[in-house]
Symmetry: C2
Subunit: 199 residues, 2 copies
DNA sequence: AACGGTAAGTTACCACGGGTAAGTTCCCTG
DNA sequence: CAGGGAACTTACCCGTGGTAACTTACCGTT
């Protein structure tokens, strides 16, 4: 009754990272729906129940991928904005950082934008990313237009987040469009539109 | 060997409409993933293979729902824009019509925005909707800013489409936000931002 | 150094739902 | 009154998410 020994025993935290990496790769390549848990497990060099002991369900694994990406996105954009030397530069650098992030984390982004609106829970997780960025941007705008209605600031922030998302998708289809150019198109409308409001 | 007779025999076109209606209802209520084909079939009063003979697959049925909604959306927005008495009014009426459409076709919209990015094919179908609206808007902008770079016009149109989408989702969470107000927030940035470009 | 206890993994299985093959009933036409 | 085809049904297959029960390696304790 010889059972093949486990290939490699490994600490919990490290396994979790391995699984997350494999999941992003497999999900983004084949698409979440077409990717089986067995495929992810195989990529790690492990069997299915291991995944379930760590993430509970296929959707749980997807959620973990999304959450990780969300954290990275906020990190990257806020660092970039912090390095700015003025309000216009802040908006510009933040936007640019967003587009750069997509280049670096392309599979993770593909997963987010194309394949993960699978259930109420995952939709909420995606919305959480947008809400996070919206709040962040609204905060920036509040500094520039201090006497504006807060509700209106959120509205503008939503405009910007939506615009960025769409420009990003467009850029995915047409790689000739650089991040700089996309940023410029956004600034054309948004920054110019904001001009009469600034004190 | 008595087999229960078919409940009701009906022409192909009519069945197709019945199935589409049922699919929008069932998919949007339970969510596409959780909705079984049997559930849709039951709603129509029919068995599963009937659905497959009409739409080929579950995804095919979803695609048909999306396509139908897309057609309706272009119809509604272009009719509204055609009734305008000037460029600003055109942008405003088109935007407003979009938000009104969401109110009328709420289940269809819920299906689009929350539950259908399921595969490459359905994602393409959703993108097709956005491309359609983007082209439409770029055409409008071209009239207003005749000497602008066409590529830039598409960029601006993407900004607008993305902004509308996000504002719509925000409005879904906060029903106090009226369609008029959402439109106004968009106009704040976009129309004002366009001002220095107009001849 | 032997020894339990626990964390890490495995095998083997279930159930549900998408999809299909084959058979049945009804209607319409010649 | 055939008989042919369109509309439907029954009964089934099978892939995949998810789980229960068992095994094995590691580690601190006496």
């Amino acid at each position: 009754m010889e059972t093949r020994a486990p290939r490699q025993r490994v600490g919990r935290a490290e396994r979790e990272r391995q699984i997350l990496d494999a999941a992003v790769a497999v999900f983004s390549e084949r698409g979440y729906q077409n990717a089986s848990m067995d495929a992810v497990a195989k990529q790690v060099g492990v069997t299915k129940p291991v995944l379930y002991s760590h993430f509970g369900s296929k959707e749980g694994l997807l959620l973990a991928c999304i959450t990780q990406t969300r954290t990275q996105l906020l990190e990257v954009t806020s660092v970039a904005a912090a390095a700015a030397d003025g309000p216009e530069d802040m908006l510009r650098r933040g936007t640019k950082a967003f587009f750069d992030f997509l280049d670096v984390q392309r599979p993770a982004w593909a997963l987010l934008c194309s394949e993960s609106a699978i259930s109420a829970a995952t939709c909420s997780a995606l919305e959480e990313i947008r809400r996070q960025q919206t709040d962040f941007i609204a905060g920036m705008l509040a500094v520039q237009v201090p006497d504006a209605d807060p509700h209106r600031l959120i509205g503008w922030a939503n405009v910007i987040v939506g615009a960025c998302e769409r420009l990003a998708v467009w850029r995915g289809r047409d790689p000739r469009l650089t991040g700089e150019q996309a940023t410029e198109y956004l600034m054309d409308l948004v920054w110019t539109g904001l001009a009469p409001r600034r004190p």
